[in-house]
């Protein structure tokens, strides 16, 4: 078991009703696992509970193994007082320096290391932000719309790259893009309104890799399952 949520109930302070109620799920394998659902259903809230950024009113989170659970999102910023390359130098552990170099090349960021964060486009900002998480030691990385401003083709390349470099890590991918989630994730947790029981349904994704051919009909089927789960 890598990460288990047991009977999680969580609501915002001052809110009349919890946004998540008695939700349980378990992630046993490495790879990409998605949290999917309409806006406001509680995906980010659940992700923050998993990362222990907030305390649920009820329930438990168990994380097996060693290593932290990191939560990343697309609104994060790097400090603007020096170029992003210098920031990357400072936050990269020694044993990941070569990994960093390879990922920078793979993400297409070599030419931008001398720029300050505010000088980058939104998509470039998303990429550099995600990259700095990837060069940390982690067990689970939550990507909450972390590549929202990146174009689709580049995003797919990035996801495939990550899969190639981190075969043993758990990624919890939050996105509204039903096709992307269905294609790249092995397990898809579809969240529903708290009044629905169960609040979360599990679907199996294609877990597409670069060495495979995409099965279009399986993709369509998965997408249909995801859409009908609501």
């Amino acid at each position: 078991m890598r990460l288990e949520c047991q009977d999680i109930t969580y609501g915002y302070a001052g809110s009349a009703h919890p946004v998540i109620e008695n939700l349980s799920l378990a992630i046993d394998e490495p790879g990409f696992h998605a949290l999917f659902g309409p806006s406001g259903v509680g995906k980010s809230s659940l992700a923050k509970v998993m990362a222990k950024m907030v305390e649920p009113q009820n329930g438990t989170i168990r994380v097996g193994g060693n290593g932290p659970v990191f939560y990343s999102h697309n609104m994060e910023r790097l400090p603007d007082w020096s170029p992003v390359g210098r920031h990357m130098d400072r936050i990269t552990p020694d044993h990941h320096v070569s990994l960093r170099t390879e990922l920078i090349a793979a993400f297409g960021l070599e030419a931008l290391l001398g720029h300050r964060f505010s000088q980058l486009s939104l998509g470039q900002q998303n990429r550099i932000n995600l990259l700095r998480y990837l060069v940390q030691d982690f067990q689970v990385l939550i990507m909450d719309e972390s590549l929202a401003n990146v174009d689709e083709q580049t995003r797919e390349q990035i996801l495939l790259t990550i899969k190639g470099y981190f075969p043993g890590s758990v990624f919890i991918y939050i996105s509204h893009n039903v096709g992307e989630v269905a294609t790249f994730c092995r397990q898809i947790w579809v969240l529903r309104d708290r009044r629905r029981s169960p609040q979360v349904l599990r679907r199996i994704g294609l877990d597409f890799r670069s060495d495979q051919l995409l099965d279009r009909s399986a993709l369509d089927h998965t997408m249909l399952e995801m859409m009908s789960a609501d």
Partner: protein, 258 residues
Amino acid sequence: MLIRRLYQFLMIYFLGVGVLLALKYGAGLSDYVVPGPVLIWRTCMDTTARYLSDVADTLSVAVVGQVLSILLALLVGILGRQTSWFGSFIKAAAYNVQAYPIVALAPIIFILLGDGWPARLLIAAMICYFPLLLSVLGIMSEPVVDIEHFYRQTGRMRWQLEVKIRAFENIGKLTTVIAGSATLAMAGTIVAEFIAANAGIGYSIRIALYQSDLAKILVALFVIGITLSLYQGFLEWCGLRVKSAWIGQPGEPSGGES
């Protein structure tokens, strides 16, 4: 920016003099109560050099007082930014004390320290300290979540980094409040000198008041206004230099995704 400051001051000053002169001629007041333009000009020729020296004296006290209070406000603000009992105490104390007119304490300070520069310096520092402290506290207490999140999660957050992030993100506010505290420091020093000191432009204004010499007072106000405009312009320039050195030259963001 400096030119605009000077221009605005001159407009307001000469408007004020115009109102006085309108009052003089409208009410038929003598030169003894409201001096005419010729008398004002003569007094200006006689006293400007002396008043420039006086205002330089006052400004030097105000600047040193301001610098001391900035350093102290930064120190206390950084220490008090936390939600610990100390931080809460500092915040509550600063909020309550800054509501009190510190200049009212000037007589006590002069009694205890005499009428020399230490009393003036202390009053100048105290007057701008509390508003500065409140601003620094506000800045240092407010997390910049978008930036700090990564460092907290990865265990890299240190107090120095936290302070640096919050200061950097609020550099505009900080430079504005520092520039504003210059006016406070100058005003406070002048009022303190007016109350009980034996030097500075405030003292000279007091003498002019005793002499019922409004012409001298007008010249003193003019010299104060010019000096303060120059000083604030200098502070703004410094603030821009700090910002551009820290933030860097504005560059073109890369175009689109390739």
